[in-house]
Assembly symmetry: C2
Homo-oligomer: 238 residues x 2
Amino acid sequence: MTSTPAPDGYDPAAYPPFAVTVDVVALTVRDDALQALLITRAEEPFLGRLALPGGFVRPDEELSAAAIRELSEETGLRRTPAHLEQLKTYGSPGRDPRMRVASVAYLAMVPNPPEPRPGGDAAAAAWVAVGTALAAGLAFDHATILADAVERARGKLEYTSLGTAFCGPEFTVSQLRHVYEVVWGARLDPRNFHRKVTSAEGFLLETGHTMIDGPGRPAALYRRGRATTLIPPLTREP
Amino acid sequence: MTSTPAPDGYDPAAYPPFAVTVDVVALTVRDDALQALLITRAEEPFLGRLALPGGFVRPDEELSAAAIRELSEETGLRRTPAHLEQLKTYGSPGRDPRMRVASVAYLAMVPNPPEPRPGGDAAAAAWVAVGTALAAGLAFDHATILADAVERARGKLEYTSLGTAFCGPEFTVSQLRHVYEVVWGARLDPRNFHRKVTSAEGFLLETGHTMIDGPGRPAALYRRGRATTLIPPLTREP
DNA sequence: ATAATAGTGTCTTTTAGACAATATCAC
DNA sequence: GTGATATTGTCTAAAAGACACTATTAT
């Protein structure tokens, strides 16, 4: 099973153990803010500090499966996120004081965020506004991971249909626009936004249903289209 | 140093060892083709098969440093690539028959590719056209990694100044256009391309020098500007 | 009626893409 | 001169952004 050890130590079994973990940045739009699902650590190191949910990958587990499992275990988030993608791997030698750890970070988008329920080695779990979290400080290098995730999400809204992953199965153009406004932290012209998203090929599918929310004309409900890339893209700096 | 082991086995030291490796997709534009730097494996498994250069990360080594080191050891590529970025981590349970391995893949751009010199556990090292490599088949899941890398490179040419990483320190607009044409596999109008790249803010810096290559008016030489994102972006489907 | 939101249309500016025209070289 | 490449300019169509206007609701 093991190949011949090379003189300079290429035999895999001879190498000092690395731990491989996953960390999940689950984002949602709630209370007019971009929020991340964070836990309060119940163990050392960084006991009591805010951190991303995550943990060790099991011997026969896919990385993405580990991300979904850890999210479920530590925060009680049962539903599979509307979108899950690998973000980046963080593996600097000193990032975990216990041992050498390479952590594969995932980015998840969650619509209609349920209230979290802490479990595993999490003392608490809560949705926290991204700005608040970064200002408060996070365990390990999780602030860097969170910042990278937010930047990825912001960029991807421009040229993909990812914004719909923050919305439920059926949504109005206004709800989608609200997502964009919150994630980008910018005002968008409702009329131009409406024209752009409804004319982008394969982005939105009409359901025929409408919805009334407060005063004003009822809004048409849409479902995500099959297009993943947005042509033409939406633009961020108006 | 080690925290209290949790009942369900969260003690990192108790976890079965993962190996962490890096694999490097070094790309260049040579002979009117997008080529990748590949090695021929000198060991089992996949002895004699083409593969990406790569290997185990050392205990106190940054992931990116491991990528540069493995590239140097296995292919003799001494120069630091003009661009190096993390691509994605591949860690499916069965991807290496010897043991559980998570491989952090890197994408590198190399201008003026030098002839490689094999070393380490590489029996040979050569620049291979991407299409040829994918058709020939690669060891492990390296074909998937290579395909992902090419797709990343193609996309990034649109909205970043990454294309200049395939050129030397000084280059003409034609040379840059040739990079785009080869990577995208498409013809671009020389006149519109010229106007777009020279008018994109901070993309190119005039050097004042010119260069003559064959017949035709001498071409102005440029250097990469400090801008990393391209505004407005170049577009792929003409 | 008034206010609020949804949706359509119109106008101007900007950009993309096609392509004419000029500049400067090798031969 | 011819032929090739570099560079600038011109034209048209598409898209972005500003914003007037209509539609439909709650109050």
